[in-house]
Amino acid sequence: MLSGWLFNVCFFLSVLAARTVALHAEQFDEELTLRPLRDGKLAARFSFTTLLKGVAPRNPERLDEDDDSQHYTLFPLALGQILREYAVTEMHLTLNAGNWAYDRWGYPDDLGVSTGAELWAWMGEGGPVTVDDRWKGLRNALAGLFCASLGSLDEQRTTSPALTFQPEGSLPRWNASHQLRHATLPSEHVCTENLTPFLKLLPCKARSGVAMLLNPHRLFDADWHGLGVHVRYLDAGVEVRLAFQAVFDPVRLSSDKRRDWSLRSVFDRTIDRACPVARSSEVRVELLPDSAYAITPDPSEIDGNRATYAVKDRTEPLDVAMRWPGEEAFQYPIEAAPLSPLSVRRTLKGSSQSDAQLSVVIRNNLPVQVRSSYLETMPWLVEFYLHTLHADIGGVPRDDLVSVISYTAPVPHTRPTLFQAILTLPPKTTLHLTMDVTKTFLRYTEHPPDAQRGWDLPPAVLIPFDFGEDPIQNHTTSPGTSAKYARPARPRRIYTSVLLVDLATPDFSMPYNVIIMSCTLIALIFGSVFNLLTRKFVLVRLDGDSAEQKPDVK
């Protein structure tokens, strides 16, 4: 009797404990950051963070054993299955459309703004399945999950630039080390078919909370838009962050060329109800201190230049609006200093179908010297001539500014190029980098269906990491300026624009013409040789003995 009673008590206690664990082991936070930009545009960043507490990524050495059962409340099961199946420690997938204008918009809130698709993952070594096999499985599984052609991120596009893409979380301490795999597909275009599966991974889908604003009609009409999936391992557990960024143009949307915006005018929706399972749900608006604006409704909290609205506290639908009452029509700023430390322009010059010249123009906008890493990951379609790499400033050769060059030559049809270097950029100057490239001649079957369009080449990545270390610069610039740029929280990536290369494209009806023509030629040559060999030759007397005369050819 007593034991039965004890059993009951223990059972209920254990049930209670399990329930509290289930309630607190996962937490979901959502936030929307709105940032009015200098050129009248509005940057919006949705961020949905799910933290699975007390869970470590799967150790690849245990891939041949049965995995633990996956029981999730808020964490997306479809993504969790992929991460466990391929033992991925950290993963970043971004699908973007458009060029991020660093000069006018500054750094993005989420750094991954490479045009097209970009996928990189840190995975542990060891175990029964190799890193490359798991990388292949990962990109195919993600391709299926997000309806994107990530399956084409194959060995011909995969590199391992570990210095540029450092893990954002921590890596578990296993026996074997971790490896990076990185690939880009600039021709991939993000659209509604990628957003729909993205929304299905959210606990509240697009039916409540901040995600209600994710209206595909408006998002894909934006000047720049992109979605991202970021998985990392923190000491607290595994964190999945789903993000959507877009840059809207309220001036274009408004009838009278004003930059006033509201959630209703930008997204065509308002936040009607809060997501019931979100721990926090906030809308943040960054305010421009130097202009006369009005913001409605009253924010829950104002912290410096940032107004915060807590969606959960509100009973009526939330429609944040910002107006500039004093402005008749928005005047675009004509001349304004760039907002990013570096401005980069990258082009491919030359009209020939076999050779071209890669030209990168980098301007250091800061009054201090900047050291920056420079990364090119090119598919084998173009090959660099490294000895033609030249740097100059205003026509003066300065090859000494390029140092620590590492280069992995491409293997045609198999492996891409990897080129890394450290650039030293003097203050307020423009560095020109040029390098000759040769375009490969593709096999007939390697051309895409739209071969005449050309091939998109991935963006280069720059990371300014060292500001004003040069003693001369420290001497000439004021200590305040130096300190301002000296220690950024973490080095931030700058993606250049993508390139389009035109390769020699065959006439695709050629094979049949070639078959017919070469057959005709062979038949002609064969016929004449054969006739020569088997023809009957005789001497013909011309002095008239008709009796001896014979026809010359039989």
Binding site: A22, D66, T73, L77, I82, A274, T520, L533, K554
Partner: protein, 513 residues
Amino acid sequence: MDHSSRPLVDPAKPFFESNHTRRSIIASYWLVVLLAVPLWWTTTSIDRLSLPTSRVLAQQDKQLVFPVHVCLSTQESSLAGPTATLARVVQQLLDAEREMQERSGVHIHTDLDCDRDVYEVEVLSGTNQPTIEGKRLRFEIDETQVMSAMRLTDTLLTLLAPYVTLRSNNHQTERVLKYAPRYRLALSLLNEDATSEHSIKAWDVQGHLSKHISPILDRLSVLHNFTVESQIQFHAPLAFEPVTLQGSGQEVHGLTQEHLTVFVNSAEWTLSSSVSNDPVIHFILFVPSAKHTPLHILDAAGQPVASSAFILPQWGGIVVHNPNSAISESTVLVPSELDLMFATFRHQLMTLLGVPELSKNIQSNQSLTDWQIDALLRRRAIENAQGSKDTLRSIVQLVRQIENMPVGHDVKDDVQGSLTALEQTYAAASSSLHASIERSKEAITLASRAFFNPGMLALLYFPAEHKYAVYTPLFGSIAAPLLAAVIRELMAWRRTRHGAQQAGSKDAKEKVD
């Protein structure tokens, strides 16, 4: 010019010009062509290995039958005589049902020899219902021999051949999932709308899984492996509007029989699993929104039925949970409610996996008896054997019908391996059930791998006409002078022979003249 001044070589005939040389040249051309034909043939022909067709066809008429040995024993000395008689009568009664036994793939034999590992019936005196302990059935008799024998025969048939007896559910065979070595059990708690007041935000899934489902999974581990996973969704709308009924005092919402067939809203519910090819068994706990509460299942006449659960054949089970209005504030499920739901899930899982139901008048202390497991094993072995037979026959027929289909070594090896495993399944049926099921698993795996071999489709879409279209411009124009040369030489040869004959006959004529 006289004969003496002539050189030995006739200048009218160039030294390189002779019939012999010319004919050798033509012959050597033809020789090259003829020698090249086998090379061309081997490089362009399709690799078609011969399949063991006769062995496959020989398998078609075989039936897998498991001999089952049941022994009767008793501890009570007074029952020794009646037990022996009982065994004899039961055997007679079973023999009368021979056809039915064969249909379910068993051949039951009863005797008194209990020294081997067999099903044992312990005969006791009493009036209680039969009980099962492991492989032993306690059977109590008190009435006449004939009645007991009929009762025992009936019980044995229900236990050993449960799938075709009249008692079992006829729909069961269509509900059961196809055999797979590994299943994924996906439990989903779906809230129609989590922002409404009746919503469940958490459930103790692990505790109830280990309490209700895991014992079953452990018992079934001889046959299947399982991966279990669970998720909660907070917005899972229905794709249709339930009908509204005016019940006693309050509005009641109902799911008609048609609604049940389209209940799963696969466009909006993220249920599918993308990482593996294992079949998924879904279990869904659906919590309707306040707008649709209470939600009941309606019968054909449109009246609410007592049960709130239903099975989608070969897909999974669904339980509709109407939150109790008294405790509607709670956003978690109380253990007693969850116990009920997981008991339903367990029953649905057993139905979907084809576990036979234990008839109600047989008592057992286990949730799943050895008799049930063995019946399931026999059923799966028979299904697998039948499946591999059908697949092998399809492969053979397909290869015979489509002449362009290549058959490589891997396909041939798989077919042969499957055949060998199938033959071993039959051979092992009389000795060991477990060996037999293992071999039958192997047979069906190999047969499906052979059937879905990607290499068999390689040349299917490249017909011979295309080849000839490419060859003709070359071979046609080359064949013309080759043939012409042969014909010309033949005609020249005939003319010279004719000329020689004519000349010969002329000479003879002249001689005669």
